[in-house]
């Protein structure tokens, strides 16, 4: 990648005050090997159209202001080399705001929903502080390492606006807020862990609405891996006794029922156990269709009938569950 390349930027343009619909403008430019996406945004503004609008501030990957999307990929403009993206997507780059439906002007979006979610998880250490403490509140290296990477979050919104669950369910807290919840929950100086775990355990709002697509892990420019923190919050809900028995928690814990019996998940049992017999009415139509096509059988999930072949050396799995299980519902 020593040479410069001539590329086209297909760029989203919209002014909420004057435009009925957004449109795209094409800007051609020669791009050098060291140019960042932010340089290209600057060049659109300085060389082509002074009205082109985007947020920028620190230019060092710290403030999170210049986050956009390029060909659908969450991109922190000041950190991303432009020709790397050309190698990935070809000579036409699609320059768009993080969320088109929230666009205010060109790349600038209204991040209100992001900050509301963030505030909802109490993203700060909650504790009684002595007005005149005699010494600092010390953290051991281990205690610090527990939340070190989650603390690197710059609130750029890359994960938040890549999350498909949030697009469908506006009540869901989303990966950035859940990462913040984790960061302060495992901080040994904090005293609101239980409260935060309860907020993030709420059906329809908390961790159980994560769809496990890993878009957030892919999107984060600070390599925080938010879904890893979501998994840790799930585990904490069980280990701290916050998890209440509901369809989602039973679904997670219930995997062990089939595994103890057969080594495999018992597909029919997991639905019955998670939903409860009364909740099964929702699945009757599907069950009948699945039965017709031979996907499940009349005896699937019927207690006392083994409908699944057992794995070889099942006793090993049973023993490993017995000696390794750490959490309970």
């Amino acid at each position: 990648m020593n040479q410069s390349k001539k590329i086209t930027l297909k760029t989203f343009r919209f002014n909420a005050e004057t435009d009925y619909l957004p449109y795209y403008k094409h800007y051609e430019m020669e791009v050098g090997k060291d140019e960042l996406v932010l340089d290209l945004l600057n060049r659109i503004k300085w060389e082509h159209d002074g009205s082109f609008s985007y947020r920028r501030s620190c230019r060092h990957g710290i403030c999170g202001a210049c986050a956009i999307k390029v060909n659908g990929k969450a991109t922190l403009a000041c950190k991303q080399n432009a020709l790397e993206l050309v190698a990935l997507f070809g000579n036409e780059l699609l320059i768009e705001p993080q969320s088109k439906k929230r666009a205010v002007k060109d790349m600038i979006i209204d991040k209100k929903d992001f900050w509301e979610k963030h505030a909802a998880v109490k993203p700060y250490v909650v504790t009684e502080v002595e007005p005149h403490p005699e010494h600092e509140t010390k953290q051991s290296i281990e205690e610090f390492n527990n939340f070190l990477d989650s603390d690197l979050c710059i609130q750029c919104g890359a994960c938040h606006y890549s999350c498909p669950a949030l697009e469908v369910n506006p009540d869901y807290l989303g990966p950035a807020a859940l990462n913040a919840a984790y960061r302060f929950t495992v901080d040994t100086r904090d005293e609101a862990a239980k409260e935060r775990l309860e907020i993030t355990a709420e059906p329809g709002v908390g961790v159980w609405d994560c769809v496990k697509c890993y878009e957030c892990a892919e999107a984060c420019p600070k390599e925080i891996n938010p879904i890893e923190k979501i998994t840790k919050l799930h585990n904490l809900q069980f280990s701290e006794g916050v998890a209440k028995s509901n369809v989602a928690t039973r679904h997670a814990e219930g995997f062990l029922r089939g595994m103890k019996k057969y080594g495999y998940l018992d597909e029919a049992d997991i639905v019955t156990y998670s939903e409860g017999y009364l909740g099964m009415y929702k699945h009757l139509g599907t069950a009948i269709k699945m039965m017709k096509s031979g996907k499940i059988h009349w005896h699937s999930g019927v207690p006392f009938i083994d409908s699944i072949p057992k794995i070889k050396n099942l006793d090993e799995v049973q023993k490993l569950i017995k000696i390794s299980q750490t959490n309970k519902l």
């Binding site: 990935l88 469908v168 892990a217 892919e218 585990n235 080594g263 070889k312 490993l320």
Partner: protein
């Protein structure tokens, strides 16, 4: 190919239960291509990310145990489910990079006479077909070209994200513009459909607790494929298949439009082109009618 390819197959739970057609078509494809398969009959469920939510350490122990059996055979462990692939690969990565965790897991495994070493690769069947068997070699074996079919490739999250975890096993697939399934469809002489949702989430994992989210995500992808002219969809993941094949009626109600699209497992599509038998391909096991595809 000078040496016969030989893999240890981790079937996962669905291929043994609700999607028997996935197992039969996988074995039929391997047979036609001369790939030797040893099924890991000792392997347990991977936890499907749900056991991981309940007890992450236990999930690592059980996944490490599965890989141990492939290591004993000295073979690469292949998966035929994206979620099996992700969870096995996550355990492998965690143990191979964290000696302290590996020691804790091995302490448990020693109780049943096993030891995780980290010597076996974990790879999805799709990528062994492409990277190790080779598309040119598959092309040579096609007897029923799929040239009459517009096929929408649906990649499934857990084979392509997080890309750093998968890059060795999936040939460095770009998660924002994956190409492997498209190239496979090309090799079988089918017509790959270009549509935006091919790398998006199907919603399977929240089917029970966040049903509306699940239905909308599956509906967006199915309708996007249909609107771009797809006559069938193909996926390497049986969980994507279950969500998108089994629930088309209820998805249609949520989306306010009829949804009708056969959703095939990746090996079923290959089996079609290689001229495998109807019984091996197993289209009769689909909820959304697909049997016309073998006609």
């Amino acid at each position: 190919m000078s040496k016969q390819l030989h893999y240890a197959l981790f079937t996962g739970c669905t291929a043994k239960q609700s999607t028997p057609e996935l197992l039969s078509s996988t074995l039929a494809v391997a047979d036609k291509l001369g790939i030797k398969i040893t099924i890991l009959e000792e392997a347990s469920c991977c936890g499907a990310s749900h056991l991981q939510d309940f007890d992450e350490f236990l999930a690592h122990v059980l996944n490490a145990r599965n890989i141990c059996y492939a290591e004993k055979l000295g073979l690469t462990m292949i998966t035929i489910c994206n979620t099996c692939q992700l969870n096995s690969a996550m355990t492998k990565h965690a143990l191979d990079t964290n000696p302290e965790l590996k020691a804790r897991v091995n302490e448990k495994l020693a109780e049943v006479g096993l030891e995780y070493k980290g010597t076996s690769e974990v790879k999805h069947f799709l990528y062994t077909l492409i990277d190790e068997y080779g598309l040119e070699n598959i092309k040579d074996k096609v007897t029923v070209p799929l040239s009459h079919l517009n096929i929408a490739p649906f990649y499934g999250c857990h084979n392509i994200r997080p890309s750093e975890l998968h890059e060795e096993a999936n040939g460095g697939e770009n998660p924002y513009a994956p190409t492997s399934l498209d190239r496979l469809i090309d090799a079988l002489e089918g017509n790959p459909v270009a549509y935006e949702s091919k790398n998006k989430c199907c919603g399977f994992h929240v089917e029970l607790q966040a049903n509306h989210t699940s239905e909308v995500l599956a509906g967006n992808a199915l309708l996007d494929a249909m609107d771009n002219g797809a006559e069938m969809m193909v996926t390497p993941c049986p969980l994507c298949h279950l969500k998108m094949d089994t629930y088309q009626d209820s998805i249609g109600k949520v989306m306010g439009r009829d949804v009708e699209l056969p959703v095939l497992h990746m090996p079923q599509m290959v089996a079609l082109a290689l001229g495998c038998t109807e019984e091996e391909i197993g289209l009769n096991f689909h909820v959304q009618k697909a049997t016309h595809l073998t006609a």
